[in-house]
């Protein structure tokens, strides 16, 4: 089962290596790992997508919580959350084919030169997969880079209130 773990980490040299090492040493299967600064200059947010059963993930979260530099850690999988991933891709195809994909998926064109378009797309992991598939059907993907998952909790909808759709 796929699990999404998010943690706030003290910005110390070697701390990312320590967290990654904790996972690697126990042979956990990490699909994606992103880390970036937060508004607090001392603190980074680390987001992990890892595969395993409930008991295994529970242990990972508990073991990670013991690390001195971990400020907060939580499993977002079961909670209301938003996942986004950024993709940059260099796509070789006639302009019309590229423009169709851009329009259909709401991707951005960053640069064009001849038949090569550099595009940017954001969506959840499945949507990024779909976008790449659509490109493959219409041309050649020369190169691409995915950023990995960034995720935050969505505000809980209080009981009795109506949900507001977000664009």
């Amino acid at each position: 089962m796929r699990h999404l773990v998010s943690m706030l980490l003290q910005n110390e040299a070697g701390e990312l290596a320590r967290v990654a090492g904790l996972f690697a040493a126990r042979g956990y299967n990490i699909e994606s790992l992103t880390v970036a600064a937060t508004p607090d200059v001392d603190v980074s947010r680390l987001t992990l997508v890892v595969f395993g059963d409930e008991a295994v993930i529970d242990q990972i979260v508990k073991q990670s919580a013991k690390l001195v530099d971990v400020i907060e850690i939580g499993e977002l999988t079961a909670r209301e959350h938003v996942e986004r991933e950024l993709l940059v891709v260099r796509f070789d195809a006639p302009e019309a084919a590229a423009d169709t994909c851009l329009a259909r998926f709401g991707a951005r064109l960053l640069h064009r030169s001849g038949t090569q378009s550099v595009m940017e797309y954001t969506g959840n992991a499945a949507e990024v997969d779909d976008f790449l598939d659509a490109l493959r059907q219409r041309g050649e993907i020369v190169d691409h880079a995915r950023s990995g998952i960034a995720a935050i909790e969505r505000p809980q909808i209080p009981a009795g209130a109506t949900a507001q759709a977000l664009l």
């Binding site: 706030l8 003290q10 040299a13 070697g14 290596a17 320590r18 090492g21 904790l22 040493a25 001392d42 242990q59 508990k62 073991q63 919580a65 013991k66 690390l67 001195v68 530099d69 971990v70 400020i71 907060e72």
Partner: protein, 622 residues
Amino acid sequence: MNAQVDSVGDIRRTPSTHPLAGQSMTGADIVVQVLADEGLDVLFGYSGGAILPVYDAVFRYNADHAADDGSEPLPLIVPANEQGACFMAAGYARASGRVGAALVTSGPGATNAVTPVRDCMADSIPLVVICGQVPTKSIGTDAFQEAPISTIMGSCAKHVFLVTDASTLEATLRTAFHIARSGRPGPVVVDIPKDVQNAPLIFDGSRELPVRGYRTRLRAVESATIADTECARFIALLNRSRRPLIYAGGGIVAAGAADALRDFAHTFGIPVVTTLMGIGGFDTTDPLALNMLGMHGAAYANYAMDDCDLVLALGARFDDRVVGVPDKFAPKARAIAQIDIDPAEIGKVKAVDWHHVGSLDTSLIRLTAYGKRHGFRPDYSAWREHVTALKATHPMNFRRDGEAIQPCAVIEAINRITDGRAIISTGVGQHQMWAAQYFDFREPRHWLTSGSMGTMGFGLPAAIGAQFARRDRVVIDIDGDASIRMNIGELETVTTYGLPVKVVVLNNSGDGMVRQWQKLFFKGRFSASDKSLHKKDFVKAAQADGFEWAQRLDDPARIDATIADFLAFDGPAFLEVVIDPDAGVYPMVGPGATYAEMITGEWIASRHAPATPAEAEPTGMF
């Protein structure tokens, strides 16, 4: 580089009241001042280029603060190698309950500390290891005696600090001690580059690092009290139970909860089994004591666990040496309750029906008081009679005849004199198990053994550290011929410092525990475990290292007299005992076996049909 008055992230912004606040000191001076402030009265370490400034600071500190009789406030004990130094600091910590400190140099000095650091992590022992490091500008250049300690120790220690900003040195070191001793104790490594040691700084006296995640979690755990509703649920579990059993581990010792445990057990009349690390947490001479359980536990302890209907796990983690096959462990237990300071241990191996994350000491006091206040007076007398009968029917025993000396006879002879009041350290293997089985312990912190890591070579340096911690106690290293060789260089450290440590080597010419397994599971193929062609004369070796009392015992008729003379000697003494090489550790619960399949051997009565051990599968548990 001068220290900033208000470094980023430091806590304690109120002015320090330390008498030396505001004084100019180098980084090295600050290191020594913090060590002194933390209440250390001994340091262990081996010098080298990268740690010279700190060693010089220790020398000057001792010279400036010498007592009237000339004694040093911070003696720096030098071993044969750094592994010895850190095991000495660990022995000091285990025997005293305080943080042990070791000072080593960079590169090979620091990497020699890896084994003891991992050992302390595995057994939850508070240790601070200060490593010298190459200057900050040289880090990562494969400089002379450089090793990437923050990476290496990162997965071994509770925490590692690499101090690249000299202004954070003082706060970092003080925080290292805090982390080592708080929550679930553990080793902290502080890697200090040489230029940081030489940096001119201003001493503050109280600054620490925020480490807010850790402090938040620690505060929650330390202030956690058991709610009334949870106390009630716990008492209800006890009330429904007819055969409750306390399963006490190393957490009792770490928490200083021996008194609280005795009170709890006596108040409700519940018998107690302990793990290897829990030995000493409950007085072995107490009528409720059932001694050690598990792979080499007493038969009656294992049967009690098989028969109980409620397991109270107190500071114990259901380790594989105790549990074997989790599904088959405590088969008749209808409920398990667990108290631990580490939330990651709750329910890790067996699902629990009641748990509390918090201090064992305050938790047990609270539960005892709650039960008393609500008039809870259970009657477990039938169960107590049952376990007393188990003790009488399946007592520990061994071969009492024959021409060779039986190792357990030696332990019994020592125990008759020391009566549960000596500090015992061990190596790892058969001798370790015999010591665990046959010694009495009336108090905690008298049993020092490498439990989780099982590091051979632990016994001698640990005994040295323990003797520094407890000058008032007899300290005995019960060692094996193979185990003691691993750190045999430390024999000279004993005599150099005039420590009255008593060293016993139970010599069976080989790796006894390995041979026992090879006999049982590998049809007696003694691959690399037989050392009967050994050239070493242990007595000569001890004499060469300055032991004035050094003897070999090989006559069973002389056991009592020799041991009495050995223990009575006023100074370091060495006794090699030639023991029966075929002596085995019994009982034994083989890998993957249940307690019902326990092999009790020829001299301990079993209540089941004798089990035939199968040849181990290559991928089986060991």
